[in-house]
Assembly symmetry: C2
Homo-oligomer: 415 residues x 2
Amino acid sequence: MNGGPVTGSLAGVRVIEIGTSVAAPMAAQILGDLGADVIKVERLGTGDDSRSWAPPHWDGAGVTYLSLNRNKRSLALDFKDAAGRDVLERLVSGADVLIQNLRPGALASAGFTTERLRELNNRLIYIEMTGFGASGPQAGKPAYDPLLQAYSGIVSITGEDGRAPARVPVSVLDIGTGMWAALAVYEGLRRRDQTGQGTHVELSLLQTALTWMAPTLMSVMAGNAVPQRLGSGLAGVVPYGAFPSSDSWVFISAGNDSAWKRLCRALDAPELDEDDRFRTNVSRASHRPDVTESLSAVTVQFTSAEIIHRLEAAGVPCSPVNTVDEVVVDEQVLSTGALRSLPRHDIPGLTVVNPPMTFDGSYPAFDVPPPPLGADSASVLEDLGLTSDQITRLVECGVVGLDLRGPTDSDGEGT
Amino acid sequence: MNGGPVTGSLAGVRVIEIGTSVAAPMAAQILGDLGADVIKVERLGTGDDSRSWAPPHWDGAGVTYLSLNRNKRSLALDFKDAAGRDVLERLVSGADVLIQNLRPGALASAGFTTERLRELNNRLIYIEMTGFGASGPQAGKPAYDPLLQAYSGIVSITGEDGRAPARVPVSVLDIGTGMWAALAVYEGLRRRDQTGQGTHVELSLLQTALTWMAPTLMSVMAGNAVPQRLGSGLAGVVPYGAFPSSDSWVFISAGNDSAWKRLCRALDAPELDEDDRFRTNVSRASHRPDVTESLSAVTVQFTSAEIIHRLEAAGVPCSPVNTVDEVVVDEQVLSTGALRSLPRHDIPGLTVVNPPMTFDGSYPAFDVPPPPLGADSASVLEDLGLTSDQITRLVECGVVGLDLRGPTDSDGEGT
């Protein structure tokens, strides 16, 4: 059953990514992880914006860039120039998928409207990502994950009641849209198998945000109260959330009355168990601040490890609130195999996070670290049939950029 | 190009969901939205746990259940009983996909080990979801989204510095794992097309969490500082986040020095523009609390609408911090078409959130609202070739449950 790593089913599928920052690079990386031949088309000189983002860096390269661009070839190309446009047209003509998240209208104004793309290749699956969708009063505005978190109501329910709203500190809209886009590519490939035709798929950060918020939006549409910020808590279930220990924080869930009893006994706190205000979940919910204060006064007397030990023995769901440095060395995290070495010649320690799924016990086989800008320009143009003279001329005209450091030193590079 | 709604490519693909709560129901719903025939196998009497979750409800039904179970048929079945096991074996034998997120080991102990499933159907794509993965010291523990947010470091960076950590108030791990699982089903179908064989796919909330955290984990593995809680802020970019207005909050991003100047001028605050401490982003980042305090004192003098108006005119990225009741009536939200009427006879106003992508301008065609428990037991068993006498006997023995209210009153129901 476990035959070792296998390349994903997308081997032979050619994906052109004209992506920047997070959403389109994420979509294309998923496809590359699963075997697709991904050609990342980047601006000459600077490339993907995330290459030049502020620290944190890893050996001089931005970690966001490094987290989103493995299993790709980098072509540095000025496709606004006529000769560059010709190169991109040839790429599109031979591609299965085009994914882009430039500013709304930017690709069309460079000559690549949806109609033109269809003329070039009516089997193309064209994935277009925006911030706010194709129409409406906000269409055309740029796509920033945190601003869309604010627009879609996510910020309004994140953080503590009575204090400033917070944001979700991971890119749920950018990365989420990338995940939906990858799914849409598979759907597009199946539709093409059935009809012979490509598809134009439109996604937006706003629509992704509404998906995350679906139960909350439905609750309000049903006429229920507008949800408020609850810190780490959950509406109607008390206690539930992060409580202080003597050395850190512990996440505790004791929403039913039996779990509450077990919690009080496990922490040697009979006075809480006997408090009439705290006897039922309904009553605890109406005394939420009192429960939080009383329980915190108990939990803070123990170390996190001691609390976890006692609550696990008592069958009360709980977890340490791990910090990020604890996570990267955690035994359970390491046992999943999710952290994967993917060295690049100039970043020998580079470690990435696997896609979160194994097939018959193995993660997909891949070995191409994120490329330096233009590292694969020559190989991509050779694949298109250009001669080395033609390539040299494009470089001299400033239409194509090469990485003078040469390609990345990986066995699988450029396939 | 816009030919109207089309059923997704998964028509004819049969999916068995033995799911509860969020992750497996989400995966199966995505597949159903895209055309798959999804049979949801539920416990007699109570069904999916989310059916009986505490409010919020919509006309008596839990909104989480309603948000995750459209485009499915409900079969209420006791598959621990011998006759019920036989029914499930027949279902599995004829299925393309099985998705389950029961407690680790529960399905195997009912007789459905991975090996047995393969014996029954070697073309089956078997999707298994857990909290912590298949091995390691925490394997076997149940999967709770907030506890895994705590375990994986997400809680440690959510909320405000110096205060209790918060959680992400949307189910990024449950729903995220469902999205990855749906993607894995497409990958499994392609692999099967190529090899003739099914696949066993394992996913976990922990692995999904690590994917959300990838850049943060990589930053720490590279030797950078452990990230802290920043409320709505962003490390190294100041000002950035939610600022108070006279009537609400506004999200402002003015990370570069030119945007800062424009922001100060747009809000008639030359004293901020002239403050030496605030002249460069580096200096503002080292005076983060002072910037927040000074800028908040300015923003709080304007309404949100006035701030948005001024900042948009000045080209400073910003967004209202919309509350959920504002989101469901927002003109841009409505213009996306993401909110979709899907009436059920007992919930006539039921509105759901579309999958966040259109194909050639249309969302996928579908019209089956979330079924009452056992609503489709009879039709599913008839599909398996059982006679009405056999079905009656299974019901009388307590192996199969029917919904006495009859099937949902939708045209597309049960197809």
